[in-house]
Subunit: 306 residues, 2 copies
Amino acid sequence: MNFIEDIIQSISDKRSVVCMGLDPRIDKEGEIPQFLINELEDPNKIILEFNKTLIDNTFDLIPVIKPQIAFYEKYEALNALKDTIKYAHKKDLLVILDSKRNDIGSTSEAYAYSTFKVFNADACTLNAYLGIDGVKPFLQYKEKGKFILVKTSNPSSKDFQNIFSAHLPDIINSKTEINVENITLERNYIKMARLVYDWGNQLDRFSEFHNLGVVVGATFPEELKAVRNVIKNSFILLPGFGAQGAKVSDIKFGFNQNGLGGIVNSSRGIIYAYCKSEKYPPSKFGEAARDKISEMNFKINKEINL
Amino acid sequence: MNFIEDIIQSISDKRSVVCMGLDPRIDKEGEIPQFLINELEDPNKIILEFNKTLIDNTFDLIPVIKPQIAFYEKYEALNALKDTIKYAHKKDLLVILDSKRNDIGSTSEAYAYSTFKVFNADACTLNAYLGIDGVKPFLQYKEKGKFILVKTSNPSSKDFQNIFSAHLPDIINSKTEINVENITLERNYIKMARLVYDWGNQLDRFSEFHNLGVVVGATFPEELKAVRNVIKNSFILLPGFGAQGAKVSDIKFGFNQNGLGGIVNSSRGIIYAYCKSEKYPPSKFGEAARDKISEMNFKINKEINL
Protein backbone atom coordinates (compact mmCIF):
# COMPACT_ATOMS: atom_id res chain seq x y z
CA MET A 1 0.00 0.00 0.00
CA ASN A 2 0.90 3.62 -0.36
CA PHE A 3 -1.44 5.91 1.51
CA ILE A 4 -1.53 8.88 -0.84
CA GLU A 5 -1.84 6.70 -3.93
CA ASP A 6 -4.55 4.57 -2.35
CA ILE A 7 -6.61 7.44 -1.05
CA ILE A 8 -6.55 9.29 -4.35
CA GLN A 9 -7.69 6.09 -6.07
CA SER A 10 -10.41 5.48 -3.52
CA ILE A 11 -11.66 9.08 -3.65
CA SER A 12 -11.96 8.72 -7.38
CA ASP A 13 -13.63 5.27 -7.21
CA LYS A 14 -16.12 6.13 -4.48
CA ARG A 15 -16.54 9.80 -5.40
CA SER A 16 -16.17 10.84 -1.82
CA VAL A 17 -13.73 12.89 0.28
CA VAL A 18 -15.57 12.16 3.51
CA CYS A 19 -13.85 10.57 6.50
CA MET A 20 -15.97 8.99 9.23
CA GLY A 21 -14.50 9.69 12.66
CA LEU A 22 -14.93 6.79 15.06
CA ASP A 23 -15.09 8.38 18.51
CA PRO A 24 -16.96 5.86 20.65
CA ARG A 25 -18.60 7.30 23.78
CA ILE A 26 -20.29 4.97 26.18
CA ASP A 27 -21.07 7.29 29.09
CA LYS A 28 -23.65 9.73 27.85
CA GLU A 29 -27.17 9.11 26.70
CA GLY A 30 -27.57 9.78 23.02
CA GLU A 31 -24.22 8.33 22.04
CA ILE A 32 -23.54 4.59 21.63
CA PRO A 33 -27.10 3.14 21.73
CA GLN A 34 -28.16 1.80 25.11
CA PHE A 35 -29.27 -1.57 23.70
CA LEU A 36 -25.68 -2.35 22.64
CA ILE A 37 -24.33 -1.37 26.05
CA ASN A 38 -26.87 -3.54 27.89
CA GLU A 39 -26.43 -6.50 25.57
CA LEU A 40 -22.63 -6.67 25.35
CA GLU A 41 -21.37 -5.15 28.65
CA ASP A 42 -17.63 -5.39 27.82
CA PRO A 43 -16.44 -2.05 26.31
CA ASN A 44 -14.26 -3.89 23.79
CA LYS A 45 -17.30 -5.78 22.49
CA ILE A 46 -19.65 -2.79 22.58
CA ILE A 47 -17.26 -0.55 20.67
CA LEU A 48 -16.29 -3.19 18.12
CA GLU A 49 -19.92 -4.02 17.39
CA PHE A 50 -20.80 -0.33 17.10
CA ASN A 51 -17.89 0.31 14.71
CA LYS A 52 -18.55 -2.79 12.58
CA THR A 53 -22.17 -1.83 12.07
CA LEU A 54 -21.12 1.68 11.09
CA ILE A 55 -18.54 0.29 8.66
CA ASP A 56 -20.98 -2.24 7.16
CA ASN A 57 -23.41 0.57 6.46
CA THR A 58 -20.95 3.04 4.97
CA PHE A 59 -17.83 1.37 3.49
CA ASP A 60 -18.95 1.73 -0.13
CA LEU A 61 -19.55 5.48 0.29
CA ILE A 62 -16.28 6.69 1.86
CA PRO A 63 -12.54 6.19 1.34
CA VAL A 64 -11.36 6.45 4.93
CA ILE A 65 -12.17 6.30 8.63
CA LYS A 66 -10.46 8.06 11.55
CA PRO A 67 -10.60 6.43 14.98
CA GLN A 68 -9.65 8.78 17.82
CA ILE A 69 -7.39 6.74 20.11
CA ALA A 70 -8.27 8.77 23.25
CA PHE A 71 -11.66 7.07 23.52
CA TYR A 72 -10.24 3.56 23.10
CA GLU A 73 -7.69 4.35 25.80
CA LYS A 74 -10.39 5.71 28.09
CA TYR A 75 -12.46 2.50 27.95
CA GLU A 76 -9.39 0.24 27.92
CA ALA A 77 -10.56 -0.91 24.50
CA LEU A 78 -7.38 -0.93 22.44
CA ASN A 79 -8.28 -4.43 21.26
CA ALA A 80 -11.46 -3.00 19.78
CA LEU A 81 -9.30 -0.41 18.03
CA LYS A 82 -7.05 -3.07 16.52
CA ASP A 83 -10.01 -5.19 15.47
CA THR A 84 -11.81 -2.18 14.00
CA ILE A 85 -8.78 -1.36 11.85
CA LYS A 86 -8.51 -4.97 10.70
CA TYR A 87 -12.20 -5.02 9.82
CA ALA A 88 -11.99 -1.67 7.98
CA HIS A 89 -9.13 -3.00 5.85
CA LYS A 90 -11.22 -6.02 4.85
CA LYS A 91 -13.94 -3.60 3.76
CA ASP A 92 -11.59 -1.60 1.54
CA LEU A 93 -11.32 1.37 3.88
CA LEU A 94 -8.16 3.28 4.72
CA VAL A 95 -7.52 4.20 8.34
CA ILE A 96 -6.10 7.40 9.82
CA LEU A 97 -5.28 6.90 13.50
CA ASP A 98 -5.93 10.21 15.23
CA SER A 99 -3.40 10.27 18.06
CA LYS A 100 -1.45 13.56 17.67
CA ARG A 101 1.70 11.89 18.98
CA ASN A 102 4.80 13.94 19.67
CA ASP A 103 8.07 13.22 21.44
CA ILE A 104 11.85 13.24 21.14
CA GLY A 105 13.38 10.97 18.51
CA SER A 106 13.99 7.74 20.42
CA THR A 107 10.52 7.82 21.97
CA SER A 108 8.89 8.89 18.74
CA GLU A 109 10.27 5.68 17.19
CA ALA A 110 8.23 3.70 19.70
CA TYR A 111 5.09 5.68 18.84
CA ALA A 112 5.65 5.19 15.11
CA TYR A 113 6.04 1.45 15.66
CA SER A 114 2.88 1.27 17.71
CA THR A 115 0.92 3.33 15.16
CA PHE A 116 1.96 1.44 12.05
CA LYS A 117 2.98 -2.01 13.33
CA VAL A 118 0.83 -2.67 16.40
CA PHE A 119 -2.34 -0.91 15.26
CA ASN A 120 -1.55 -1.23 11.55
CA ALA A 121 -2.94 2.21 10.70
CA ASP A 122 -2.41 3.55 7.17
CA ALA A 123 -1.87 7.11 8.37
CA CYS A 124 -1.83 9.16 11.56
CA THR A 125 -1.98 12.67 12.94
CA LEU A 126 1.12 14.27 14.52
CA ASN A 127 1.90 17.33 16.62
CA ALA A 128 5.23 18.87 15.52
CA TYR A 129 5.84 21.33 18.37
CA LEU A 130 9.09 19.40 18.95
CA GLY A 131 10.36 19.95 15.41
CA ILE A 132 11.65 17.43 12.88
CA ASP A 133 13.16 14.99 15.47
CA GLY A 134 9.73 13.76 16.49
CA VAL A 135 8.48 13.54 12.90
CA LYS A 136 11.44 11.70 11.35
CA PRO A 137 10.71 8.26 12.84
CA PHE A 138 7.25 8.46 11.23
CA LEU A 139 8.74 9.54 7.88
CA GLN A 140 10.76 6.31 7.91
CA TYR A 141 7.48 4.57 7.14
CA LYS A 142 7.49 6.05 3.67
CA GLU A 143 4.31 4.44 2.42
CA LYS A 144 2.24 5.65 5.35
CA GLY A 145 0.38 8.96 5.58
CA LYS A 146 1.17 11.60 8.23
CA PHE A 147 -0.95 14.66 8.96
CA ILE A 148 0.74 17.39 10.98
CA LEU A 149 -1.36 19.77 13.08
CA VAL A 150 -1.17 23.23 11.54
CA LYS A 151 -4.38 25.02 12.51
CA THR A 152 -6.68 22.98 14.71
CA SER A 153 -10.48 23.22 14.67
CA ASN A 154 -11.02 24.29 18.30
CA PRO A 155 -11.75 27.92 19.33
CA SER A 156 -8.61 28.34 21.47
CA SER A 157 -6.32 27.21 18.68
CA LYS A 158 -5.70 30.95 18.36
CA ASP A 159 -3.91 31.05 21.75
CA PHE A 160 -0.69 29.79 20.23
CA GLN A 161 -1.23 28.99 16.55
CA ASN A 162 -2.38 32.51 15.64
CA ILE A 163 0.32 34.53 17.35
CA PHE A 164 2.74 36.18 14.99
CA SER A 165 6.12 34.70 14.31
CA ALA A 166 9.12 36.06 12.44
CA HIS A 167 11.69 34.45 10.19
CA LEU A 168 15.06 35.54 11.48
CA PRO A 169 17.37 32.64 10.72
CA ASP A 170 20.54 34.69 11.17
CA ILE A 171 19.83 35.95 14.67
CA ILE A 172 22.22 34.55 17.24
CA ASN A 173 20.59 31.56 18.85
CA SER A 174 21.34 32.41 22.45
CA LYS A 175 19.28 35.59 22.44
CA THR A 176 15.85 35.24 23.97
CA GLU A 177 14.51 38.67 23.06
CA ILE A 178 15.23 41.13 20.27
CA ASN A 179 14.07 44.43 18.79
CA VAL A 180 13.56 44.60 15.05
CA GLU A 181 12.38 47.03 12.43
CA ASN A 182 10.72 46.40 9.12
CA ILE A 183 10.46 42.67 9.28
CA THR A 184 7.58 40.55 8.07
CA LEU A 185 5.60 38.58 10.56
CA GLU A 186 3.37 35.61 9.90
CA ARG A 187 1.17 33.64 12.23
CA ASN A 188 2.54 30.52 13.90
CA TYR A 189 0.30 28.16 11.96
CA ILE A 190 1.77 29.53 8.73
CA LYS A 191 5.27 28.93 10.08
CA MET A 192 4.23 25.36 10.90
CA ALA A 193 2.88 24.97 7.35
CA ARG A 194 6.22 26.20 5.98
CA LEU A 195 8.09 23.63 8.08
CA VAL A 196 5.84 20.89 6.69
CA TYR A 197 6.48 22.23 3.19
CA ASP A 198 10.24 21.97 3.76
CA TRP A 199 10.05 18.50 5.32
CA GLY A 200 7.85 17.20 2.50
CA ASN A 201 9.79 18.76 -0.32
CA GLN A 202 11.96 15.73 -1.08
CA LEU A 203 9.26 13.09 -0.74
CA ASP A 204 7.98 11.00 -3.63
CA ARG A 205 4.78 12.29 -5.16
CA PHE A 206 1.80 10.56 -6.59
CA SER A 207 0.03 12.93 -8.95
CA GLU A 208 0.99 16.22 -7.24
CA PHE A 209 0.71 14.94 -3.65
CA HIS A 210 3.04 13.23 -1.16
CA ASN A 211 2.48 11.38 2.12
CA LEU A 212 3.09 14.34 4.43
CA GLY A 213 -0.20 16.14 4.95
CA VAL A 214 -1.53 18.69 7.40
CA VAL A 215 -4.55 19.22 9.64
CA VAL A 216 -6.50 22.45 9.28
CA GLY A 217 -9.86 22.88 11.03
CA ALA A 218 -12.74 23.23 8.57
CA THR A 219 -13.95 25.79 11.10
CA PHE A 220 -11.33 28.27 9.78
CA PRO A 221 -11.82 28.92 6.03
CA GLU A 222 -9.49 31.96 5.84
CA GLU A 223 -6.70 30.07 7.50
CA LEU A 224 -7.33 27.11 5.21
CA LYS A 225 -6.87 29.36 2.18
CA ALA A 226 -3.62 30.75 3.60
CA VAL A 227 -2.26 27.26 4.37
CA ARG A 228 -3.17 25.98 0.90
CA ASN A 229 -1.13 28.83 -0.60
CA VAL A 230 1.94 27.60 1.31
CA ILE A 231 1.60 23.86 0.71
CA LYS A 232 0.52 22.77 -2.75
CA ASN A 233 1.62 19.15 -2.37
CA SER A 234 0.06 18.18 0.93
CA PHE A 235 -3.32 16.62 1.48
CA ILE A 236 -5.29 18.53 4.11
CA LEU A 237 -7.30 16.68 6.75
CA LEU A 238 -10.26 18.91 7.61
CA PRO A 239 -11.89 18.15 10.95
CA GLY A 240 -14.65 20.26 12.47
CA PHE A 241 -17.38 19.54 9.94
CA GLY A 242 -20.80 18.91 11.45
CA ALA A 243 -20.90 18.98 15.25
CA GLN A 244 -18.17 21.65 15.40
CA GLY A 245 -20.07 23.88 12.98
CA ALA A 246 -18.10 24.07 9.70
CA LYS A 247 -20.19 24.35 6.50
CA VAL A 248 -19.67 23.08 2.96
CA SER A 249 -18.64 26.50 1.66
CA ASP A 250 -15.89 26.64 4.31
CA ILE A 251 -13.82 23.81 2.88
CA LYS A 252 -13.50 24.55 -0.83
CA PHE A 253 -10.06 26.19 -0.57
CA GLY A 254 -8.62 22.86 0.49
CA PHE A 255 -9.21 21.33 -2.93
CA ASN A 256 -7.72 21.70 -6.40
CA GLN A 257 -9.68 21.96 -9.65
CA ASN A 258 -10.02 18.15 -9.77
CA GLY A 259 -11.65 17.99 -6.37
CA LEU A 260 -8.50 16.59 -4.78
CA GLY A 261 -6.36 17.69 -1.84
CA GLY A 262 -8.69 17.43 1.11
CA ILE A 263 -10.36 14.91 3.41
CA VAL A 264 -13.41 16.15 5.29
CA ASN A 265 -13.87 14.50 8.66
CA SER A 266 -17.03 14.35 10.69
CA SER A 267 -17.25 12.19 13.80
CA ARG A 268 -20.22 12.86 16.07
CA GLY A 269 -22.20 14.35 13.14
CA ILE A 270 -22.13 10.96 11.38
CA ILE A 271 -21.92 8.24 13.99
CA TYR A 272 -24.51 9.75 16.33
CA ALA A 273 -26.73 11.04 13.49
CA TYR A 274 -29.50 8.74 14.74
CA CYS A 275 -29.90 10.94 17.83
CA LYS A 276 -30.69 14.01 15.74
CA SER A 277 -33.76 12.71 13.94
CA GLU A 278 -36.87 10.86 15.08
CA LYS A 279 -36.73 8.98 11.78
CA TYR A 280 -34.20 6.59 13.28
CA PRO A 281 -34.73 4.34 16.29
CA PRO A 282 -31.44 3.47 18.09
CA SER A 283 -31.27 0.15 16.21
CA LYS A 284 -30.98 2.10 12.95
CA PHE A 285 -27.83 4.08 13.89
CA GLY A 286 -25.98 2.53 10.95
CA GLU A 287 -28.60 3.65 8.44
CA ALA A 288 -28.60 7.13 9.96
CA ALA A 289 -24.82 7.32 9.48
CA ARG A 290 -25.17 6.14 5.87
CA ASP A 291 -27.84 8.74 5.09
CA LYS A 292 -25.74 11.49 6.69
CA ILE A 293 -22.71 10.51 4.60
CA SER A 294 -24.79 10.42 1.39
CA GLU A 295 -25.98 13.91 2.15
CA MET A 296 -22.41 15.10 2.88
CA ASN A 297 -21.05 13.51 -0.31
CA PHE A 298 -23.75 15.17 -2.39
CA LYS A 299 -23.25 18.63 -0.92
CA ILE A 300 -19.45 18.52 -0.81
CA ASN A 301 -18.97 17.09 -4.31
CA LYS A 302 -21.10 19.87 -5.77
CA GLU A 303 -18.93 22.46 -4.02
CA ILE A 304 -15.55 20.96 -5.00
CA ASN A 305 -16.48 19.63 -8.47
CA LEU A 306 -15.61 16.01 -7.69
CA MET B 1 -3.34 13.64 47.50
CA ASN B 2 -2.24 16.90 46.03
CA PHE B 3 0.66 16.54 43.64
CA ILE B 4 2.54 19.74 44.36
CA GLU B 5 2.13 19.41 48.11
CA ASP B 6 3.15 15.77 48.08
CA ILE B 7 6.19 16.23 45.87
CA ILE B 8 7.51 19.15 47.92
CA GLN B 9 7.10 17.03 51.06
CA SER B 10 8.78 14.03 49.45
CA ILE B 11 11.68 16.09 48.07
CA SER B 12 12.27 17.41 51.55
CA ASP B 13 11.93 13.97 53.21
CA LYS B 14 14.12 12.09 50.77
CA ARG B 15 16.45 14.97 49.93
CA SER B 16 16.18 14.27 46.24
CA VAL B 17 14.84 16.03 43.15
CA VAL B 18 15.60 13.08 40.89
CA CYS B 19 12.92 11.41 38.77
CA MET B 20 13.57 7.92 37.39
CA GLY B 21 12.21 7.61 33.85
CA LEU B 22 10.80 4.15 33.16
CA ASP B 23 11.28 3.65 29.39
CA PRO B 24 11.32 -0.13 28.94
CA ARG B 25 13.00 -1.32 25.75
CA ILE B 26 12.97 -5.00 24.94
CA ASP B 27 14.41 -5.03 21.42
CA LYS B 28 18.02 -3.96 21.72
CA GLU B 29 20.87 -5.65 23.48
CA GLY B 30 22.05 -3.68 26.45
CA GLU B 31 18.58 -2.61 27.54
CA ILE B 32 16.17 -4.82 29.54
CA PRO B 33 18.46 -7.68 30.59
CA GLN B 34 18.22 -10.76 28.39
CA PHE B 35 17.69 -13.14 31.31
CA LEU B 36 14.37 -11.43 32.14
CA ILE B 37 13.25 -11.60 28.53
CA ASN B 38 14.09 -15.30 28.25
CA GLU B 39 12.54 -16.18 31.58
CA LEU B 40 9.25 -14.31 31.35
CA GLU B 41 8.48 -14.08 27.60
CA ASP B 42 5.28 -11.99 27.93
CA PRO B 43 6.15 -8.25 27.57
CA ASN B 44 3.69 -7.35 30.34
CA LYS B 45 5.50 -9.66 32.75
CA ILE B 46 9.00 -8.68 31.59
CA ILE B 47 8.34 -4.97 31.93
CA LEU B 48 6.54 -5.22 35.27
CA GLU B 49 9.32 -7.34 36.77
CA PHE B 50 11.97 -4.94 35.42
CA ASN B 51 10.13 -1.92 36.84
CA LYS B 52 9.41 -3.54 40.22
CA THR B 53 13.06 -4.42 40.70
CA LEU B 54 14.06 -0.85 39.81
CA ILE B 55 11.48 0.54 42.23
CA ASP B 56 12.51 -1.84 45.04
CA ASN B 57 16.09 -0.69 44.69
CA THR B 58 15.42 3.05 44.53
CA PHE B 59 12.13 4.08 46.17
CA ASP B 60 13.75 5.43 49.32
CA LEU B 61 16.09 7.68 47.31
CA ILE B 62 13.69 9.49 44.94
CA PRO B 63 10.32 11.25 45.16
CA VAL B 64 8.95 10.37 41.73
CA ILE B 65 9.07 8.14 38.63
CA LYS B 66 8.08 8.96 35.05
CA PRO B 67 6.92 6.10 32.82
CA GLN B 68 6.91 7.00 29.11
CA ILE B 69 3.66 5.57 27.74
CA ALA B 70 5.00 5.17 24.17
CA PHE B 71 7.00 2.11 25.17
CA TYR B 72 4.10 0.45 26.97
CA GLU B 73 1.94 1.05 23.90
CA LYS B 74 4.63 -0.37 21.62
CA TYR B 75 4.82 -3.68 23.50
CA GLU B 76 1.06 -3.77 24.18
CA ALA B 77 1.93 -3.64 27.85
CA LEU B 78 -0.52 -1.10 29.25
CA ASN B 79 -1.35 -3.56 32.02
CA ALA B 80 2.28 -3.45 33.07
CA LEU B 81 1.98 0.35 33.12
CA LYS B 82 -1.08 0.23 35.38
CA ASP B 83 0.53 -2.33 37.67
CA THR B 84 3.77 -0.34 37.82
CA ILE B 85 1.89 2.76 38.91
CA LYS B 86 0.00 0.80 41.55
CA TYR B 87 3.25 -0.69 42.84
CA ALA B 88 4.99 2.70 42.87
CA HIS B 89 2.18 4.16 44.98
CA LYS B 90 2.59 1.37 47.52
CA LYS B 91 6.27 2.26 47.74
CA ASP B 92 5.56 5.92 48.44
CA LEU B 93 6.51 7.17 44.96
CA LEU B 94 4.64 9.76 42.95
CA VAL B 95 4.09 9.06 39.25
CA ILE B 96 4.26 11.46 36.30
CA LEU B 97 2.81 9.81 33.20
CA ASP B 98 4.79 11.09 30.23
CA SER B 99 2.29 11.10 27.38
CA LYS B 100 2.33 14.67 25.95
CA ARG B 101 -1.39 14.44 25.15
CA ASN B 102 -3.10 17.18 23.19
CA ASP B 103 -6.49 17.45 21.52
CA ILE B 104 -9.66 19.52 21.27
CA GLY B 105 -11.77 19.83 24.42
CA SER B 106 -14.16 16.90 24.14
CA THR B 107 -11.36 14.49 23.22
CA SER B 108 -9.00 15.95 25.78
CA GLU B 109 -11.58 15.02 28.43
CA ALA B 110 -11.16 11.39 27.42
CA TYR B 111 -7.37 11.65 27.68
CA ALA B 112 -7.61 13.30 31.10
CA TYR B 113 -9.90 10.51 32.30
CA SER B 114 -7.55 7.85 31.01
CA THR B 115 -4.49 9.55 32.55
CA PHE B 116 -5.92 10.11 36.01
CA LYS B 117 -8.68 7.51 36.35
CA VAL B 118 -7.59 4.54 34.25
CA PHE B 119 -3.85 4.76 34.86
CA ASN B 120 -4.18 6.63 38.16
CA ALA B 121 -1.15 8.85 37.50
CA ASP B 122 -0.45 11.72 39.91
CA ALA B 123 0.70 14.04 37.14
CA CYS B 124 1.27 14.09 33.39
CA THR B 125 2.96 15.95 30.57
CA LEU B 126 0.90 17.94 28.05
CA ASN B 127 1.50 19.61 24.68
CA ALA B 128 -0.43 22.90 24.50
CA TYR B 129 -0.08 23.68 20.78
CA LEU B 130 -3.91 23.64 20.71
CA GLY B 131 -4.26 26.31 23.40
CA ILE B 132 -6.27 26.27 26.61
CA ASP B 133 -9.13 24.07 25.25
CA GLY B 134 -6.95 20.97 25.39
CA VAL B 135 -5.52 21.84 28.81
CA LYS B 136 -8.77 22.70 30.62
CA PRO B 137 -10.07 19.14 31.01
CA PHE B 138 -6.81 18.29 32.78
CA LEU B 139 -7.08 21.36 35.03
CA GLN B 140 -10.44 20.00 36.22
CA TYR B 141 -8.41 17.43 38.13
CA LYS B 142 -7.20 20.14 40.50
CA GLU B 143 -5.14 17.94 42.78
CA LYS B 144 -3.12 16.42 39.91
CA GLY B 145 0.09 17.81 38.42
CA LYS B 146 0.37 18.91 34.79
CA PHE B 147 3.63 19.75 33.01
CA ILE B 148 3.27 21.67 29.75
CA LEU B 149 5.99 21.38 27.11
CA VAL B 150 7.78 24.71 26.82
CA LYS B 151 11.29 23.96 25.57
CA THR B 152 11.95 20.29 24.88
CA SER B 153 15.30 18.58 25.31
CA ASN B 154 15.81 17.41 21.71
CA PRO B 155 18.12 19.23 19.23
CA SER B 156 15.36 20.12 16.74
CA SER B 157 13.21 21.74 19.41
CA LYS B 158 14.62 24.93 17.88
CA ASP B 159 12.65 24.33 14.62
CA PHE B 160 9.50 25.71 16.10
CA GLN B 161 10.05 26.57 19.77
CA ASN B 162 12.91 28.98 19.09
CA ILE B 163 11.40 31.04 16.31
CA PHE B 164 10.49 34.55 17.30
CA SER B 165 6.94 35.49 18.12
CA ALA B 166 5.29 38.85 18.73
CA HIS B 167 2.58 40.00 21.07
CA LEU B 168 0.09 41.91 18.92
CA PRO B 169 -3.24 41.33 20.61
CA ASP B 170 -4.97 44.21 18.82
CA ILE B 171 -4.17 43.13 15.29
CA ILE B 172 -7.25 42.17 13.33
CA ASN B 173 -7.63 38.41 13.55
CA SER B 174 -8.26 37.70 9.90
CA LYS B 175 -4.88 38.96 8.71
CA THR B 176 -2.32 36.27 8.08
CA GLU B 177 0.66 38.54 7.43
CA ILE B 178 1.66 41.97 8.63
CA ASN B 179 4.53 44.49 8.58
CA VAL B 180 5.54 46.05 11.85
CA GLU B 181 8.08 48.47 13.19
CA ASN B 182 9.66 48.72 16.60
CA ILE B 183 7.98 45.80 18.24
CA THR B 184 9.52 43.38 20.68
CA LEU B 185 9.86 39.77 19.67
CA GLU B 186 10.34 36.78 21.93
CA ARG B 187 10.90 33.16 21.10
CA ASN B 188 7.93 30.80 20.89
CA TYR B 189 8.92 28.85 23.99
CA ILE B 190 8.79 32.08 25.98
CA LYS B 191 5.34 32.78 24.59
CA MET B 192 4.31 29.27 25.68
CA ALA B 193 5.74 29.94 29.15
CA ARG B 194 3.69 33.16 29.33
CA LEU B 195 0.53 31.24 28.43
CA VAL B 196 1.26 28.76 31.22
CA TYR B 197 1.84 31.68 33.58
CA ASP B 198 -1.57 33.10 32.69
CA TRP B 199 -3.35 29.76 32.96
CA GLY B 200 -1.75 29.00 36.31
CA ASN B 201 -2.22 32.42 37.82
CA GLN B 202 -5.50 31.64 39.62
CA LEU B 203 -4.58 28.19 40.89
CA ASP B 204 -4.14 27.37 44.55
CA ARG B 205 -0.55 27.41 45.72
CA PHE B 206 1.35 25.31 48.18
CA SER B 207 4.35 27.24 49.39
CA GLU B 208 4.95 29.33 46.25
CA PHE B 209 4.05 26.61 43.73
CA HIS B 210 0.86 25.38 42.02
CA ASN B 211 -0.02 22.22 40.07
CA LEU B 212 0.63 23.63 36.58
CA GLY B 213 4.27 23.06 35.74
CA VAL B 214 6.36 23.12 32.59
CA VAL B 215 8.90 20.95 30.79
CA VAL B 216 12.25 22.50 29.88
CA GLY B 217 15.08 20.33 28.59
CA ALA B 218 18.05 20.26 30.96
CA THR B 219 20.03 20.36 27.73
CA PHE B 220 19.23 24.10 27.37
CA PRO B 221 20.47 26.06 30.44
CA GLU B 222 20.05 29.53 28.90
CA GLU B 223 16.48 28.80 27.94
CA LEU B 224 15.84 27.38 31.41
CA LYS B 225 16.99 30.66 32.94
CA ALA B 226 14.71 32.63 30.61
CA VAL B 227 11.70 30.42 31.39
CA ARG B 228 12.30 30.63 35.16
CA ASN B 229 12.19 34.42 34.87
CA VAL B 230 8.70 34.18 33.35
CA ILE B 231 7.19 31.57 35.66
CA LYS B 232 8.03 31.82 39.34
CA ASN B 233 5.22 29.56 40.54
CA SER B 234 5.62 26.52 38.29
CA PHE B 235 7.65 23.44 38.98
CA ILE B 236 9.93 22.63 36.05
CA LEU B 237 10.37 19.05 34.87
CA LEU B 238 13.90 18.82 33.47
CA PRO B 239 14.47 15.88 31.12
CA GLY B 240 17.67 15.34 29.17
CA PHE B 241 19.97 14.60 32.08
CA GLY B 242 22.37 11.71 31.49
CA ALA B 243 21.99 9.97 28.14
CA GLN B 244 20.99 13.23 26.43
CA GLY B 245 24.04 15.03 27.76
CA ALA B 246 22.92 17.66 30.30
CA LYS B 247 25.25 18.28 33.25
CA VAL B 248 24.67 19.26 36.88
CA SER B 249 25.65 22.88 36.30
CA ASP B 250 23.02 23.14 33.53
CA ILE B 251 20.04 22.77 35.83
CA LYS B 252 20.64 25.18 38.69
CA PHE B 253 18.50 28.00 37.25
CA GLY B 254 15.44 25.78 37.66
CA PHE B 255 15.65 25.95 41.46
CA ASN B 256 15.03 28.57 44.16
CA GLN B 257 17.25 29.28 47.14
CA ASN B 258 15.66 26.38 49.05
CA GLY B 259 16.52 23.86 46.34
CA LEU B 260 12.90 23.69 45.19
CA GLY B 261 11.23 24.23 41.81
CA GLY B 262 12.69 21.50 39.64
CA ILE B 263 12.54 17.76 39.02
CA VAL B 264 15.51 16.27 37.20
CA ASN B 265 14.62 13.27 35.07
CA SER B 266 16.98 10.64 33.77
CA SER B 267 15.66 7.52 32.07
CA ARG B 268 18.24 5.49 30.16
CA GLY B 269 21.06 6.92 32.32
CA ILE B 270 19.55 5.29 35.41
CA ILE B 271 17.63 2.20 34.34
CA TYR B 272 20.30 0.91 31.94
CA ALA B 273 23.23 2.08 34.11
CA TYR B 274 24.28 -1.58 34.46
CA CYS B 275 25.32 -1.60 30.79
CA LYS B 276 27.81 1.20 31.31
CA SER B 277 30.02 -0.46 33.90
CA GLU B 278 31.58 -3.91 34.16
CA LYS B 279 30.98 -3.70 37.91
CA TYR B 280 27.40 -4.84 37.36
CA PRO B 281 26.31 -8.15 35.84
CA PRO B 282 22.83 -7.96 34.22
CA SER B 283 21.27 -9.43 37.36
CA LYS B 284 22.44 -6.34 39.30
CA PHE B 285 20.62 -3.79 37.13
CA GLY B 286 18.65 -2.62 40.18
CA GLU B 287 21.80 -1.95 42.22
CA ALA B 288 23.34 -0.11 39.28
CA ALA B 289 20.28 2.14 39.11
CA ARG B 290 20.48 2.76 42.87
CA ASP B 291 24.15 3.69 42.70
CA LYS B 292 23.53 6.01 39.76
CA ILE B 293 20.74 7.78 41.64
CA SER B 294 22.88 8.15 44.78
CA GLU B 295 25.57 9.76 42.64
CA MET B 296 23.01 12.08 40.99
CA ASN B 297 21.48 13.08 44.34
CA PHE B 298 24.89 13.89 45.76
CA LYS B 299 26.00 16.00 42.79
CA ILE B 300 22.69 17.77 42.25
CA ASN B 301 22.03 18.56 45.92
CA LYS B 302 25.46 20.19 46.19
CA GLU B 303 24.65 22.38 43.17
CA ILE B 304 21.16 23.45 44.29
CA ASN B 305 21.76 23.59 48.06
CA LEU B 306 19.07 21.03 48.92
